[in-house]
Amino acid sequence: MKKITAYLSICFITLISCNGVEFSPNQKFRDETPQNVNKTQIEKLKPKNAGERIRIAVSGDTQRKYREAALFVDQINARNDIDFVILNGDISDFGQLLEFEGVYNIYSKLKVPFISIVGNHDLVANGPSVFRRMFGDFNFTFKYGDVKFVCFDSNSREYNFNGLVPDMNWLSANLKLEADVKNIVAFSHIPPDDADFDPKLRPVYEQLAINTPGFLASVHAHQHSPDRTYRPNGSNIPFIITNAIVNKAYTVLDIYNGKIETYPTTF
Protein backbone atom coordinates (compact mmCIF):
# COMPACT_ATOMS: atom_id res chain seq x y z
CA MET A 1 0.00 0.00 0.00
CA LYS A 2 2.88 2.30 0.82
CA LYS A 3 4.32 1.51 -2.56
CA ILE A 4 1.10 2.43 -4.28
CA THR A 5 0.92 5.73 -2.47
CA ALA A 6 4.46 6.47 -3.60
CA TYR A 7 3.56 5.59 -7.15
CA LEU A 8 0.45 7.70 -6.96
CA SER A 9 2.35 10.73 -5.88
CA ILE A 10 4.94 10.28 -8.62
CA CYS A 11 2.19 9.99 -11.18
CA PHE A 12 0.41 13.01 -9.86
CA ILE A 13 3.59 15.06 -10.18
CA THR A 14 4.12 13.72 -13.68
CA LEU A 15 0.66 14.63 -14.77
CA ILE A 16 0.49 18.12 -13.36
CA SER A 17 3.96 19.01 -14.62
CA CYS A 18 2.70 20.18 -17.95
CA ASN A 19 1.19 22.98 -19.96
CA GLY A 20 -1.18 21.02 -22.11
CA VAL A 21 -0.49 19.17 -25.33
CA GLU A 22 2.35 20.09 -27.67
CA PHE A 23 2.33 18.88 -31.26
CA SER A 24 5.94 19.87 -32.00
CA PRO A 25 8.49 22.32 -30.58
CA ASN A 26 8.60 23.61 -34.17
CA GLN A 27 4.88 24.22 -34.54
CA LYS A 28 4.07 27.66 -35.94
CA PHE A 29 1.29 28.48 -33.49
CA ARG A 30 -1.01 27.10 -30.82
CA ASP A 31 -4.62 28.06 -30.24
CA GLU A 32 -3.48 30.50 -27.53
CA THR A 33 -0.75 32.21 -29.62
CA PRO A 34 -1.43 35.95 -30.03
CA GLN A 35 -1.59 37.40 -33.53
CA ASN A 36 -0.69 40.75 -35.16
CA VAL A 37 1.03 41.96 -32.00
CA ASN A 38 2.82 44.85 -33.73
CA LYS A 39 -0.42 46.21 -35.21
CA THR A 40 -2.15 45.98 -31.81
CA GLN A 41 0.76 47.63 -30.02
CA ILE A 42 1.04 50.47 -32.57
CA GLU A 43 -2.69 51.15 -32.16
CA LYS A 44 -2.08 51.46 -28.41
CA LEU A 45 0.39 54.37 -28.85
CA LYS A 46 -0.89 57.41 -26.99
CA PRO A 47 -1.44 60.47 -29.21
CA LYS A 48 1.58 62.75 -29.51
CA ASN A 49 1.48 66.32 -30.73
CA ALA A 50 3.87 67.37 -33.47
CA GLY A 51 6.99 68.93 -32.00
CA GLU A 52 6.67 67.28 -28.59
CA ARG A 53 9.65 65.33 -27.30
CA ILE A 54 9.54 61.59 -28.07
CA ARG A 55 11.36 59.23 -25.69
CA ILE A 56 11.92 55.62 -26.73
CA ALA A 57 13.60 52.74 -24.90
CA VAL A 58 15.33 50.46 -27.42
CA SER A 59 17.17 47.20 -26.93
CA GLY A 60 17.40 43.91 -28.75
CA ASP A 61 18.41 40.35 -28.08
CA THR A 62 16.17 38.94 -25.35
CA GLN A 63 17.21 35.43 -26.47
CA ARG A 64 16.42 33.02 -23.64
CA LYS A 65 17.15 35.67 -20.99
CA TYR A 66 13.66 35.76 -19.55
CA ARG A 67 14.91 36.92 -16.18
CA GLU A 68 16.68 39.93 -17.72
CA ALA A 69 13.67 40.66 -19.93
CA ALA A 70 11.44 40.73 -16.83
CA LEU A 71 13.87 43.07 -15.06
CA PHE A 72 13.83 45.36 -18.10
CA VAL A 73 10.03 45.45 -18.06
CA ASP A 74 10.10 46.36 -14.35
CA GLN A 75 12.61 49.14 -15.07
CA ILE A 76 10.52 50.68 -17.83
CA ASN A 77 7.33 50.39 -15.80
CA ALA A 78 9.05 52.12 -12.89
CA ARG A 79 9.95 55.19 -14.94
CA ASN A 80 7.04 57.07 -16.38
CA ASP A 81 8.79 58.96 -19.16
CA ILE A 82 9.00 56.35 -21.94
CA ASP A 83 6.57 56.64 -24.88
CA PHE A 84 7.20 53.17 -26.26
CA VAL A 85 9.69 50.30 -26.38
CA ILE A 86 11.46 48.86 -29.41
CA LEU A 87 12.52 45.20 -29.22
CA ASN A 88 15.15 45.27 -31.95
CA GLY A 89 15.35 41.61 -33.00
CA ASP A 90 16.49 38.25 -31.66
CA ILE A 91 13.38 37.88 -29.58
CA SER A 92 14.06 34.13 -29.66
CA ASP A 93 17.26 32.12 -29.74
CA PHE A 94 16.18 28.95 -31.56
CA GLY A 95 13.23 30.36 -33.54
CA GLN A 96 10.81 28.33 -31.41
CA LEU A 97 7.24 29.25 -30.62
CA LEU A 98 7.70 28.71 -26.89
CA GLU A 99 10.46 31.35 -26.85
CA PHE A 100 8.45 33.97 -28.78
CA GLU A 101 5.50 33.36 -26.46
CA GLY A 102 7.75 33.50 -23.39
CA VAL A 103 9.12 36.92 -24.33
CA TYR A 104 5.68 38.14 -25.40
CA ASN A 105 4.23 37.16 -22.02
CA ILE A 106 6.92 39.23 -20.29
CA TYR A 107 6.81 42.26 -22.61
CA SER A 108 3.02 42.36 -22.63
CA LYS A 109 3.28 43.44 -18.98
CA LEU A 110 4.80 46.75 -20.13
CA LYS A 111 2.61 49.76 -19.41
CA VAL A 112 3.70 51.27 -22.75
CA PRO A 113 3.42 49.68 -26.20
CA PHE A 114 6.32 47.59 -27.54
CA ILE A 115 7.13 47.12 -31.19
CA SER A 116 9.16 44.10 -32.30
CA ILE A 117 11.58 43.77 -35.20
CA VAL A 118 12.84 40.51 -36.69
CA GLY A 119 16.37 39.33 -35.86
CA ASN A 120 18.59 36.62 -37.33
CA HIS A 121 17.77 34.11 -34.58
CA ASP A 122 14.06 34.66 -35.25
CA LEU A 123 14.56 33.41 -38.81
CA VAL A 124 15.84 29.95 -37.84
CA ALA A 125 13.73 26.78 -38.35
CA ASN A 126 10.02 27.76 -38.44
CA GLY A 127 10.84 31.14 -36.86
CA PRO A 128 9.83 33.17 -39.94
CA SER A 129 6.32 31.70 -39.88
CA VAL A 130 6.04 32.14 -36.11
CA PHE A 131 7.14 35.79 -36.27
CA ARG A 132 4.96 36.68 -39.25
CA ARG A 133 1.80 35.25 -37.70
CA MET A 134 2.50 36.50 -34.20
CA PHE A 135 4.05 39.95 -34.81
CA GLY A 136 3.42 40.78 -38.47
CA ASP A 137 5.51 41.90 -41.47
CA PHE A 138 9.30 41.96 -41.43
CA ASN A 139 9.30 45.43 -43.07
CA PHE A 140 6.85 47.98 -41.73
CA THR A 141 6.51 51.64 -40.78
CA PHE A 142 4.54 53.60 -38.24
CA LYS A 143 4.18 57.26 -37.36
CA TYR A 144 4.44 58.83 -33.95
CA GLY A 145 4.15 62.58 -33.49
CA ASP A 146 5.84 64.01 -36.56
CA VAL A 147 8.36 61.17 -36.85
CA LYS A 148 8.12 58.16 -39.14
CA PHE A 149 9.73 54.95 -37.93
CA VAL A 150 10.95 52.59 -40.62
CA CYS A 151 11.53 49.05 -39.34
CA PHE A 152 13.13 46.48 -41.61
CA ASP A 153 14.70 43.05 -41.93
CA SER A 154 18.49 43.40 -42.34
CA ASN A 155 19.37 39.79 -41.50
CA SER A 156 21.11 39.22 -44.85
CA ARG A 157 23.04 36.11 -43.80
CA GLU A 158 19.79 34.23 -43.12
CA TYR A 159 19.02 34.63 -46.84
CA ASN A 160 22.58 33.65 -47.75
CA PHE A 161 23.29 37.20 -49.00
CA ASN A 162 20.89 36.89 -51.92
CA GLY A 163 20.93 40.64 -52.56
CA LEU A 164 17.24 41.02 -51.62
CA VAL A 165 17.69 41.66 -47.88
CA PRO A 166 17.47 44.39 -46.83
CA ASP A 167 14.84 45.11 -49.47
CA MET A 168 16.27 48.25 -51.08
CA ASN A 169 13.19 48.83 -53.25
CA TRP A 170 10.97 48.83 -50.18
CA LEU A 171 13.41 51.07 -48.32
CA SER A 172 13.60 53.59 -51.22
CA ALA A 173 9.81 53.72 -51.28
CA ASN A 174 9.49 54.16 -47.51
CA LEU A 175 12.46 56.35 -46.59
CA LYS A 176 10.48 59.37 -47.74
CA LEU A 177 8.99 62.30 -45.92
CA GLU A 178 5.26 62.70 -46.23
CA ALA A 179 2.55 65.03 -44.98
CA ASP A 180 2.89 65.66 -41.20
CA VAL A 181 6.25 63.89 -41.11
CA LYS A 182 9.34 65.96 -40.36
CA ASN A 183 11.83 63.24 -39.49
CA ILE A 184 12.60 59.58 -40.09
CA VAL A 185 14.30 57.04 -37.81
CA ALA A 186 15.18 53.56 -39.07
CA PHE A 187 15.41 50.40 -36.97
CA SER A 188 16.82 47.02 -37.94
CA HIS A 189 18.56 44.21 -36.12
CA ILE A 190 21.88 43.77 -37.98
CA PRO A 191 24.05 46.94 -38.20
CA PRO A 192 25.21 47.82 -41.73
CA ASP A 193 28.87 47.57 -40.69
CA ASP A 194 28.42 44.02 -39.38
CA ALA A 195 29.60 40.95 -41.32
CA ASP A 196 26.02 39.61 -41.29
CA PHE A 197 24.71 42.61 -43.30
CA ASP A 198 24.94 42.13 -47.07
CA PRO A 199 28.30 43.83 -47.92
CA LYS A 200 27.04 44.76 -51.40
CA LEU A 201 24.02 46.54 -49.95
CA ARG A 202 25.79 48.29 -47.09
CA PRO A 203 26.96 51.34 -49.13
CA VAL A 204 23.60 51.45 -50.94
CA TYR A 205 21.67 51.59 -47.67
CA GLU A 206 24.04 54.04 -45.97
CA GLN A 207 23.92 56.41 -48.94
CA LEU A 208 20.13 56.17 -49.20
CA ALA A 209 19.79 56.97 -45.49
CA ILE A 210 22.20 59.91 -45.63
CA ASN A 211 20.48 61.34 -48.69
CA THR A 212 16.99 61.03 -47.24
CA PRO A 213 15.75 64.47 -46.14
CA GLY A 214 14.81 64.50 -42.46
CA PHE A 215 16.64 61.23 -41.73
CA LEU A 216 17.75 61.34 -38.09
CA ALA A 217 19.37 58.00 -37.30
CA SER A 218 19.67 54.32 -38.13
CA VAL A 219 19.42 52.19 -34.97
CA HIS A 220 20.62 48.58 -34.70
CA ALA A 221 21.39 45.77 -32.24
CA HIS A 222 22.90 42.27 -32.62
CA GLN A 223 26.42 42.85 -31.28
CA HIS A 224 25.73 42.56 -27.54
CA SER A 225 28.36 45.19 -26.84
CA PRO A 226 28.38 48.70 -25.36
CA ASP A 227 26.67 51.41 -27.40
CA ARG A 228 28.60 52.53 -30.45
CA THR A 229 27.90 55.16 -33.10
CA TYR A 230 29.47 55.60 -36.52
CA ARG A 231 28.80 58.21 -39.19
CA PRO A 232 29.42 56.87 -42.71
CA ASN A 233 30.90 58.83 -45.62
CA GLY A 234 31.71 61.93 -43.59
CA SER A 235 28.04 62.63 -42.95
CA ASN A 236 26.71 63.72 -39.59
CA ILE A 237 23.95 61.08 -39.54
CA PRO A 238 24.48 58.68 -36.61
CA PHE A 239 24.29 54.93 -37.16
CA ILE A 240 23.74 53.71 -33.61
CA ILE A 241 24.39 50.16 -32.41
CA THR A 242 22.80 49.64 -29.02
CA ASN A 243 23.55 47.09 -26.33
CA ALA A 244 21.34 44.08 -25.51
CA ILE A 245 18.82 42.86 -22.96
CA VAL A 246 21.13 39.85 -22.41
CA ASN A 247 23.67 42.37 -21.06
CA LYS A 248 21.00 44.06 -18.94
CA ALA A 249 21.22 47.20 -21.04
CA TYR A 250 18.97 49.42 -23.09
CA THR A 251 19.26 52.83 -24.71
CA VAL A 252 16.96 55.78 -24.33
CA LEU A 253 16.46 57.71 -27.56
CA ASP A 254 15.26 61.28 -27.25
CA ILE A 255 13.86 62.83 -30.39
CA TYR A 256 13.19 66.53 -30.12
CA ASN A 257 13.33 69.47 -32.46
CA GLY A 258 14.83 67.50 -35.37
CA LYS A 259 17.62 66.05 -33.24
CA ILE A 260 18.25 62.65 -31.68
CA GLU A 261 20.18 61.95 -28.49
CA THR A 262 21.06 58.61 -26.94
CA TYR A 263 21.41 57.64 -23.30
CA PRO A 264 22.80 54.15 -22.74
CA THR A 265 21.30 52.69 -19.57
CA THR A 266 22.01 49.54 -17.58
CA PHE A 267 19.81 47.80 -15.05
Binding site: Y7, T14, S17, V21, F23, K28
Partner: protein, 198 residues
Protein backbone atom coordinates in the same frame (compact mmCIF):
# COMPACT_ATOMS: atom_id res chain seq x y z
CA UNK B 1 -1.12 16.40 -48.62
CA UNK B 2 0.69 15.74 -51.92
CA UNK B 3 4.06 16.22 -50.25
CA UNK B 4 3.13 13.70 -47.60
CA UNK B 5 2.35 10.88 -49.96
CA UNK B 6 5.88 9.46 -50.30
CA UNK B 7 6.29 9.38 -46.52
CA UNK B 8 2.95 7.70 -45.98
CA UNK B 9 3.68 5.20 -48.74
CA UNK B 10 7.02 4.34 -47.20
CA UNK B 11 5.38 3.92 -43.85
CA UNK B 12 2.71 1.60 -45.25
CA UNK B 13 5.31 -0.46 -47.08
CA UNK B 14 7.18 -0.90 -43.84
CA UNK B 15 4.13 -2.12 -42.00
CA UNK B 16 2.27 -4.24 -44.56
CA UNK B 17 4.76 -7.17 -44.68
CA UNK B 18 4.37 -7.67 -40.97
CA UNK B 19 0.73 -8.53 -41.42
CA UNK B 20 0.86 -10.33 -44.75
CA UNK B 21 3.74 -12.75 -44.31
CA UNK B 22 3.59 -12.94 -40.59
CA UNK B 23 2.40 -16.49 -40.18
CA UNK B 24 4.60 -18.26 -42.71
CA UNK B 25 8.21 -17.67 -41.86
CA UNK B 26 9.85 -17.69 -38.44
CA UNK B 27 12.45 -15.09 -39.45
CA UNK B 28 9.78 -12.74 -40.67
CA UNK B 29 7.75 -13.66 -37.61
CA UNK B 30 10.48 -12.23 -35.43
CA UNK B 31 10.17 -8.97 -37.30
CA UNK B 32 6.48 -8.64 -36.56
CA UNK B 33 6.16 -5.76 -34.19
CA UNK B 34 4.87 -6.54 -30.74
CA UNK B 35 2.57 -3.57 -30.73
CA UNK B 36 1.06 -0.74 -32.71
CA UNK B 37 1.14 2.67 -31.15
CA UNK B 38 -1.10 5.66 -31.84
CA UNK B 39 -0.54 8.97 -30.12
CA UNK B 40 -2.05 12.45 -29.91
CA UNK B 41 0.46 15.27 -29.29
CA UNK B 42 3.48 14.52 -27.16
CA UNK B 43 5.74 16.82 -29.27
CA UNK B 44 6.13 14.26 -32.10
CA UNK B 45 3.08 15.23 -34.16
CA UNK B 46 -0.54 16.29 -33.83
CA UNK B 47 -1.11 12.64 -34.48
CA UNK B 48 1.51 9.92 -34.77
CA UNK B 49 1.58 6.21 -35.47
CA UNK B 50 4.29 3.72 -34.81
CA UNK B 51 5.32 0.14 -34.25
CA UNK B 52 7.38 -1.25 -31.40
CA UNK B 53 8.96 -4.22 -29.71
CA UNK B 54 9.12 -5.46 -26.14
CA UNK B 55 12.41 -6.50 -24.60
CA UNK B 56 13.43 -7.85 -21.20
CA UNK B 57 10.11 -9.41 -20.33
CA UNK B 58 8.19 -6.34 -21.54
CA UNK B 59 10.15 -4.09 -19.20
CA UNK B 60 11.56 -2.04 -22.05
CA UNK B 61 10.07 -0.99 -25.36
CA UNK B 62 11.69 0.27 -28.51
CA UNK B 63 9.51 1.87 -31.17
CA UNK B 64 9.55 3.98 -34.31
CA UNK B 65 6.94 6.65 -34.96
CA UNK B 66 5.88 8.88 -37.81
CA UNK B 67 4.00 12.00 -36.80
CA UNK B 68 2.31 14.82 -38.67
CA UNK B 69 1.15 18.30 -37.72
CA UNK B 70 -1.46 19.64 -40.17
CA UNK B 71 -1.39 23.25 -41.33
CA UNK B 72 -4.43 24.08 -39.21
CA UNK B 73 -2.56 22.99 -36.06
CA UNK B 74 0.70 24.90 -36.71
CA UNK B 75 2.23 22.74 -39.44
CA UNK B 76 2.76 21.29 -41.92
CA UNK B 77 5.43 19.36 -40.04
CA UNK B 78 6.56 15.75 -40.54
CA UNK B 79 8.46 14.06 -37.74
CA UNK B 80 10.21 10.68 -37.41
CA UNK B 81 10.86 9.48 -33.87
CA UNK B 82 12.67 6.46 -32.47
CA UNK B 83 11.60 5.96 -28.88
CA UNK B 84 12.96 3.96 -25.97
CA UNK B 85 10.99 3.41 -22.76
CA UNK B 86 11.76 1.64 -19.52
CA UNK B 87 8.91 0.25 -17.40
CA UNK B 88 10.34 -0.44 -13.95
CA UNK B 89 7.07 -1.09 -12.11
CA UNK B 90 3.89 -2.94 -12.86
CA UNK B 91 1.01 -3.06 -10.43
CA UNK B 92 -1.64 -5.75 -10.78
CA UNK B 93 -4.94 -4.04 -10.18
CA UNK B 94 -7.08 -7.07 -11.01
CA UNK B 95 -7.07 -10.15 -13.24
CA UNK B 96 -7.14 -8.13 -16.45
CA UNK B 97 -5.82 -4.75 -15.45
CA UNK B 98 -2.20 -3.66 -15.01
CA UNK B 99 -0.79 -0.27 -14.19
CA UNK B 100 2.71 0.88 -15.04
CA UNK B 101 2.75 4.00 -12.89
CA UNK B 102 5.87 5.73 -14.15
CA UNK B 103 7.92 4.93 -17.21
CA UNK B 104 10.97 7.04 -18.08
CA UNK B 105 11.19 7.53 -21.84
CA UNK B 106 13.91 8.84 -24.12
CA UNK B 107 13.22 9.75 -27.73
CA UNK B 108 14.87 11.59 -30.58
CA UNK B 109 12.64 13.55 -32.92
CA UNK B 110 13.78 14.27 -36.45
CA UNK B 111 11.81 17.03 -38.15
CA UNK B 112 11.76 16.69 -41.93
CA UNK B 113 11.56 19.55 -44.42
CA UNK B 114 13.68 22.30 -45.86
CA UNK B 115 13.49 24.60 -42.82
CA UNK B 116 15.22 21.90 -40.77
CA UNK B 117 18.64 20.38 -40.91
CA UNK B 118 20.80 18.32 -38.62
CA UNK B 119 23.38 21.11 -38.79
CA UNK B 120 23.53 24.65 -40.18
CA UNK B 121 24.97 25.00 -43.67
CA UNK B 122 28.76 25.60 -43.28
CA UNK B 123 28.75 27.54 -46.57
CA UNK B 124 26.28 30.05 -45.17
CA UNK B 125 27.48 30.44 -41.60
CA UNK B 126 30.92 30.79 -40.00
CA UNK B 127 32.01 27.92 -37.77
CA UNK B 128 30.03 27.83 -34.52
CA UNK B 129 27.63 30.64 -35.53
CA UNK B 130 24.66 28.54 -34.38
CA UNK B 131 25.56 25.52 -32.27
CA UNK B 132 22.36 23.49 -32.25
CA UNK B 133 20.44 21.36 -34.73
CA UNK B 134 17.04 22.46 -36.02
CA UNK B 135 16.00 18.97 -37.13
CA UNK B 136 17.19 16.74 -34.29
CA UNK B 137 15.91 17.02 -30.76
CA UNK B 138 16.50 14.76 -27.80
CA UNK B 139 13.47 14.41 -25.54
CA UNK B 140 13.05 13.12 -22.03
CA UNK B 141 9.60 11.96 -21.01
CA UNK B 142 7.65 10.17 -18.31
CA UNK B 143 4.53 8.20 -18.95
CA UNK B 144 1.93 6.44 -16.90
CA UNK B 145 0.11 3.55 -18.54
CA UNK B 146 -2.90 1.37 -17.89
CA UNK B 147 -2.98 -1.99 -19.65
CA UNK B 148 -6.13 -4.02 -20.25
CA UNK B 149 -5.30 -7.66 -20.96
CA UNK B 150 -7.44 -9.47 -23.52
CA UNK B 151 -7.55 -12.94 -24.97
CA UNK B 152 -3.92 -14.06 -25.57
CA UNK B 153 -5.04 -15.81 -28.79
CA UNK B 154 -6.85 -12.78 -30.22
CA UNK B 155 -5.32 -10.47 -32.84
CA UNK B 156 -5.08 -7.73 -30.27
CA UNK B 157 -3.90 -9.24 -27.01
CA UNK B 158 -3.90 -6.16 -24.83
CA UNK B 159 -4.82 -2.51 -25.04
CA UNK B 160 -2.83 0.14 -23.13
CA UNK B 161 -3.76 3.75 -22.60
CA UNK B 162 -1.11 6.19 -21.52
CA UNK B 163 -0.40 9.82 -20.75
CA UNK B 164 3.12 11.10 -21.31
CA UNK B 165 4.81 14.35 -20.41
CA UNK B 166 8.05 15.39 -22.12
CA UNK B 167 10.59 18.12 -22.62
CA UNK B 168 13.54 18.48 -24.99
CA UNK B 169 17.19 19.51 -24.98
CA UNK B 170 16.69 23.13 -26.10
CA UNK B 171 13.85 23.71 -23.65
CA UNK B 172 16.01 22.28 -20.87
CA UNK B 173 18.94 24.56 -21.78
CA UNK B 174 16.64 27.60 -21.72
CA UNK B 175 15.04 26.56 -18.46
CA UNK B 176 18.39 25.95 -16.76
CA UNK B 177 19.51 29.52 -17.43
CA UNK B 178 16.27 30.85 -15.96
CA UNK B 179 15.84 28.24 -13.25
CA UNK B 180 15.55 30.79 -10.46
CA UNK B 181 12.58 32.50 -12.09
CA UNK B 182 10.94 29.88 -14.33
CA UNK B 183 9.28 26.78 -12.85
CA UNK B 184 10.39 23.56 -14.56
CA UNK B 185 6.75 22.72 -15.21
CA UNK B 186 6.81 25.35 -17.96
CA UNK B 187 8.90 23.13 -20.24
CA UNK B 188 6.89 19.90 -19.98
CA UNK B 189 4.15 19.12 -22.48
CA UNK B 190 1.61 16.32 -22.77
CA UNK B 191 0.74 13.60 -25.19
CA UNK B 192 -1.84 10.79 -24.97
CA UNK B 193 -1.71 7.45 -26.67
CA UNK B 194 -2.96 3.94 -27.11
CA UNK B 195 -0.82 0.83 -27.53
CA UNK B 196 -2.30 -2.29 -29.14
CA UNK B 197 -0.40 -5.48 -28.34
CA UNK B 198 -0.38 -7.86 -31.30
Amino acid sequence: MEKLKPTLLLFSLLIIPFFTFAQKNTFVKQLIPDYINLQYGGSIGYFSGGVGYYFLNEKTTVSLHYGFVPKSKGGPINILTPKFAYRPFEIKINENLRWQPINPTIFVSYTLGRNFDKEFDPNQYPDGYYWWSTALKAHLGFSTEVKVLGNPKAAIKAVSLYAETNTNDLYAVSWFENRTTTPITRIFFMGYGVRLKL
